[in-house]
């Protein structure tokens, strides 16, 4: 297989297979949760479930003061790499062009130097997250194989994207093929790992807020 063939496979069938697994997997996982259902609360309410749930979906994005003070390293690295991933993923010009090809519409991109800066910051924050995971007493205790695997598979598209953009080492088609394949790997593993939190955290936060809100507490 030539590098052009590899790139075409990655951009064509590879992407299709990965997307199908990703979408089907996410749908199955969410149904798996929702179909379990939960019992209606028979106690007299002191507040609203819906309002409490929606409130917590948003408010839980910001930690309370004491928690921030006690876990600032984890929180700061976490914020940076999440924001960085989002920006690099959805606001770099090549990504928007790529997505426009598939979904038919695009949006304005950020200037290349800005994306480049975000990419470097994201890489640093992801490395920082890994060091924190391996050195923080609690995180090291909790860490399992899946945590390291998902870290690696999240890091891979960022670093291969950076390398491909700057054409370091291999030829352009090879670099691009490796980058796209790394994204496909992430998509395939996504629904079956903790990466699912990107979707399920909305359910979890809603339930948390609803349970507390029903009792009149803003969680």
């Amino acid at each position: 297989m030539t590098e052009i063939e590899l790139l075409s496979w990655a951009r064509g069938p590879g992407l299709q297979i990965a997307t199908i697994i990703f979408v089907a997997g996410v749908v199955i996982r969410i149904l798996e949760i929702l179909l379990l259902g939960r019992k209606a609360n028979l106690a007299e309410a002191k507040g609203g479930e819906m309002s409490g749930g929606l409130r917590t979906v948003f408010t839980r994005t910001v930690p309370d003061r004491t928690t921030f003070k006690r876990s600032s390293v984890t929180i700061v690295f976490g914020y940076i790499f999440h924001i960085g991933l989002f920006v690099v993923c959805f606001f770099s010009a090549p990504h928007i062009l790529f997505l426009k090809d598939i979904i038919g519409f695009g949006w304005p991109s950020l200037p290349t130097p800005v994306i480049d800066a975000f990419a470097v910051i994201t890489i640093i924050a992801l490395l920082g997250t890994l060091v924190n995971r391996l050195t923080n007493r609690v995180m090291r205790f909790l860490t399992n194989f899946e945590d390291l695997l998902t870290w690696f598979l999240t890091f891979l598209p960022v670093i291969t994207g950076y390398v491909a953009f700057h054409r370091i080492g291999l030829t352009a088609p090879s670099l691009l093929a490796v980058h796209i394949l790394s994204v496909e790997l992430l998509l395939v593993i996504f629904p079956f790992t903790k990466l699912m939190h990107a979707f399920t955290l909305f359910l979890a936060r809603w339930y948390n807020g609803a349970i507390s809100g029903y009792k009149g507490v803003a969680s």
């Binding site: 309370d64 923080n136 609690v138 939190h197 339930y207 803003a218």
Partner: protein, 419 residues
């Protein structure tokens, strides 16, 4: 309670619903919950990280309720649950958690970890992995009617004393009244002043009330140990008595988990909405205050702070009421850092105080409360939970701190206007 591993596993399975599945699906092992838990912050032991305490339930969820887990189970890859494993987790699930729910407030993905631990206890208890102290308290609650073995004649004797001291009649088994007062065994045995205080307040407010000789115990060991069947039996006793006396409102006394048990879990345990309301004594007093029926003659001069009992504040929703009441009797009320819904637990709720094995750790984790108190240096601590009160007194003694503990109800009664 006959228990076995098989029963335990079935009980774990029954606990999995969409909330549990959403929570476990969302955990990213960030460890933030550890820093919210006094059993971690004061011991530095990572195995006491809240989410780690739910591991038995997580294993069941993963292997039985997820696609990947079921495939893994078929291939023999899922992590096993056996007696040895559960025994190892006992200390984490019961001794190192008061179900205070502080972790549930900080988890960035929104997991209600305290609820997950509460559910884990259901499986642990069914598997025969509950601590002896709690099993004893639960057995006494079912057979005698009180976890401390307090029977009606004991309460009758206390009522007689209170009547002699106050000259007020304590209504017993009176029908069609506004309120039916529940009490915790702790109040009956150690703090009968509470009954006296309620009698005075209701007398001045001109309220009708009663104590039921058939259901006076407010605490619910079934909730703490994690056996819903037993918890339901204990709730049903109260429901039967309240229905029989046709009371409008049942009052939960100064006890944290008793409030959760009857107010929030009660109707769900018996599977039926109540015909009466349930209110905490603080809510009742705050309503009387709003109606102008609670009048104060004198004020506290001491610098007061309020310890929020977890099950009343964070897990119960009674947060503003005690503050309204304290401000009525004090011009010198100071809040501890993190007060209110983010307050730190005393360290002995959720069955920890009934579990002798946890005596050492509950006093160790009191250091968190000590740090909070050191910040404000109050002359006295006001609270509204007898269990917190007993443990706070223990802790203060252990750390040579000389700060008196006051019940909010009793404090108000002391300052009541004569007419």
């Amino acid at each position: 309670m006959s228990a076995s591993l098989e029963k335990g596993i079935n009980a774990f399975k029954r606990q999995v619903d969409s909330t549990v599945a959403a929570f476990f699906s969302s955990c990213v092992h960030c460890g933030l919950c550890a820093e919210a838990c006094l059993f971690y912050t004061e011991t530095g032991d990572p195995k006491r990280t809240p989410i780690n305490k739910t591991e038995p339930l997580r294993r069941i969820w993963k292997s039985e309720f997820t696609l990947v887990g079921r495939v893994g189970k078929m291939l023999g890859l899922s992590k096993k649950i056996d007696d040895e494993f559960l025994e190892e987790w006992q200390e984490l699930v019961y001794d190192s958690c008061t179900l205070c729910g502080r972790c549930s407030m900080v988890c960035p993905v929104g997991n209600d970890i305290a609820l997950m631990i509460r559910k884990t206890r259901e499986g642990m208890a069914a598997a025969g992995q509950a601590p002896e102290g709690l099993v004893g308290a639960t057995t006494r609650a079912v057979t005698i009617g009180s976890p401390m073995g307090v029977k009606w004649p004991a309460l009758q004797a206390q009522i007689k004393h209170v009547e002699e001291d106050t000259g007020l009649k304590i209504p017993v088994d009176v029908e069609d009244v506004e309120y039916m007062l529940l009490l915790s065994s702790m109040e009956i045995m150690n703090f009968p002043e509470f009954i006296e205080a309620v009698a005075k307040i209701f007398d001045k407010a001109g309220t009708t009330w009663t104590i039921s000789s058939e259901a006076f115990e407010a605490t619910n060991s079934g909730i703490q140990i994690g056996v819903s069947d037993i918890a339901a039996v204990l709730v049903q006793r109260i429901v039967d008595a309240a229905d029989k006396l046709r009371v409008k409102t049942v009052i939960s006394p100064e006890c944290g988990h008793a409030y959760t048990a009857i107010r929030w879990d009660g109707p769900n345990l018996v599977g039926k909405a109540f015909n009466f309301k349930v209110r905490h004594i603080l809510e009742v007093m705050d309503d009387l205050r709003k109606d102008g029926r609670l009048k104060i003659a004198t004020k506290e001069t001491r610098k007061l702070t309020y310890h929020d009992p977890c099950q009343i504040s964070r897990r119960g929703g009674v947060i503003q009421e005690p503050r309204n009441l304290i401000n009525m009797v004090s011009d010198n009320f100071v809040e501890m850092p993190d007060a209110g819904k983010m307050n730190w637990c005393c360290g002995a709720g959720g069955g920890v105080s009934a579990n002798e094995r946890a005596d050492e750790i509950r006093l160790k984790v009191f250091e968190r409360k000590k740090a909070q108190l050191d910040e404000v240096k109050p002359d006295a601590i006001v609270s509204a939970c007898s269990n917190c009160r007993i443990h706070l007194e223990d802790g203060l003694e252990e750390y040579n701190m000389d700060i008196p503990l006051l019940s909010l109800t009793e404090t108000l009664a002391e300052h009541l206007a004569e007419d």
